[in-house]
């Protein structure tokens, strides 16, 4: 299943946030969206996921979702968005409660999601008892439980410390390895973008326009190789040079706002 951003523009009141953004996320592909602060990355993701109505243009799906997918477009949130009154298990079960899955089937799905995210031993814990990294794993397990076609990830690692980020990045790479699931990965962290994405959409300063679409010329497996580091760093530097001036302007704008 493909996800298409079709000439999406958006404004909040008189503030133009996005301007004519178009690109396609093909089945199994990971597309990162980067750009200066306030360029509309998260707004774009909300529009793509159907949580926000765009002012112009629209998000479209092409093709059938994978068999058994209960929620083809599934978010992973920056702040985890876990129900604090529910255990890990109940949080993972939450998106399944209204589905047609039987109890035993639901249990199997939850067990599988917890196993894939290493949370089996924490199923009875409450979010407040978990570290930030473990909380985000719960968010990922919850997303996996509905067998998404495309994960919509809104800076999923930005609330975490660097060591936890590194560990979760490895988890993402593993989960996306078989290509059965695509992702739109919004981030301000260029290193995360070049490690994870197949393509990177660079947005301009507000109103966000597609400034460049950069393809990473190697597989994610190859990127783990020590010899690939230099090439990835060069891409990262190129991306930074694309964004840097606008990032400085955007930061000044935010400070003066």
């Amino acid at each position: 299943m493909d996800l298409i951003a079709d000439h999406i523009s958006h404004r909040f009141g008189t503030l133009d946030v996005l301007d004519n953004v178009s690109f396609t996320v093909r089945a199994g592909e990971v597309v990162a969206i980067v750009g200066p602060s306030g360029c509309g990355k998260s707004t774009l993701l909300s529009i793509l996921g159907g949580l926000l109505r765009s002012s112009e243009g629209q998000a479209e799906l092409r093709g059938a979702p994978p068999a058994g997918s209960l929620n083809p477009l599934t978010f992973v949130f920056q702040d985890f968005a876990l129900l604090p009154w529910c255990t890990v298990e109940a949080n993972v079960e939450f998106p399944l409660v209204h589905t047609a899955l039987g109890i035993s089937e639901r249990r199997a799905v939850i067990d599988d999601a917890l196993r894939r995210t290493g949370l089996t031993d924490f199923r009875g814990a409450y979010p407040k008892q978990l570290s930030g990294g473990m909380r985000q794993r719960v968010g990922i397990a919850r997303a996996l439980a509905v067998r998404p076609a495309i994960l919509l990830m809104d800076e999923p690692l930005s609330a975490l410390d660097s060591q936890t980020r590194e560990l979760l990045m490895e988890d993402f790479i593993r989960l996306l390895a078989d290509g059965s699931m695509g992702a739109v990965y919004v981030t301000h962290n260029l290193e995360e973008a070049v490690r994870l994405a197949d393509r990177i959409v660079v947005l301009s300063r507000r109103p966000g326009r597609v400034r460049e679409v950069v393809t990473i010329p190697m597989t994610r497996d190859e990127r783990g190789d020590i010899n690939a580091r230099g090439k990835l760093l060069a891409i990262q530097n190129d991306l930074w040079s694309l964004i840097r001036e606008e990032a400085i302007d955007a930061e000044r704008e935010v400070q003066h706002a």
């Binding site: 949580l51 929620n71 702040d79 939450f94 409450y126």
Partner: protein
């Protein structure tokens, strides 16, 4: 290969050093486990001493022993239970009615634009009215039975409950609602599984306030027009200068308030254990 720096011994660098002064004390008050009870016991002991030694006239301030004796006699005679049961019935009925209506209206205001527009205007206009002032009107409307007293309590409870409920609904993190929407969770399940538990801390805090409001109103209403009830009992005792009985009634009200408060504590511990 890591190039490790040599580890020098700390003691070599200690010459001429002094400890950094600690500046982080204070600003972390914590209630001692027994200090409150000890202070209460001391006040009661001093009060008893003042009464026994004749420092204060027992007609105006009877000693705690006289109040305890009055409570004991009231309990033995059955009058305590008679008055208490009337008060509890009025509080219970009024509180339940006001709470149910307040929760429904509060959720309406919290979830519906139309209800919010209308409801907040009415609540803002009517909430500041002292509800006991409406008792004469309610007597005219509902007669001189139990209904006007229960209605007064229900009205007092209703407004505070409605406000705490819609404030609680407003305080539910929007990201949780968006998360539920992103999984296509239907509206009624979002209300039941996200908004209700999210608003519960505020609703229970509201219960604490409405319990006090109900106690205040039941006493006031019973003083205005009732034969039985703790409020009526306190007023009669005052009229007859039976200050030991009067204070016995006050102590019973205090204990009643404490028991309700403890009940709400237990409810919070059970329902909000996740906090």
């Amino acid at each position: 290969m890591l190039d490790r720096a040599p580890q020098g011994t700390q003691d070599e660098d200690k010459a001429g050093s002094r400890p950094v002064a600690f500046r982080g004390a204070g600003f972390t008050p914590s209630a001692g486990r027994y200090s409150g009870w000890i202070a209460l016991a001391l006040v009661i002991a001093f009060w008893q001493l003042a009464g026994s030694a004749g420092w204060v006239n027992a007609l105006f301030l009877p000693p705690p022993s006289a109040i305890a004796a009055a409570i004991y006699k009231l309990a033995l005679s059955g009058a305590l239970w008679q008055h208490l049961s009337w008060s509890v019935m009025r509080i219970g009925s009024g509180w339940i009615l006001g709470t149910v209506a307040g929760v429904i209206v509060g959720f309406g205001i919290g979830l519906s634009t139309l209800a919010r527009g209308i409801g907040i205007t009415f609540i803002s206009a009517l909430f500041p009215i002292p509800k006991i002032a409406l008792l004469p009107l309610l007597i005219l409307w509902l007669g001189i039975g139990e209904e006007p007293k229960i209605a007064t309590i229900a009205l007092g409870v209703f407004f505070s409950t409605a406000i705490s409920v819609y404030s609680g609904v407003d305080a539910v993190p929007r990201n949780l609602i968006r998360m539920a929407q992103s999984f296509n969770v239907p509206f009624h399940l979002i209300v039941r599984r996200v908004i209700w538990p999210g608003a519960l801390p505020s609703i229970l805090a509201g219960f604490r306030i409405t319990a006090s409001v109900a106690l205040l109103l039941v006493v006031s209403a019973e003083m205005i027009g009732a034969q039985y009830g703790i409020g009526a009992f306190v007023l009669q005792a005052g009229n007859l200068m039976q200050t030991d009985q009067l204070l016995a009634g006050v102590v019973i009200l205090s204990v009643f308030g404490l028991v309700v408060g403890k009940g709400i504590n237990l409810l919070e511990a059970r329902l909000l254990h996740w906090r």
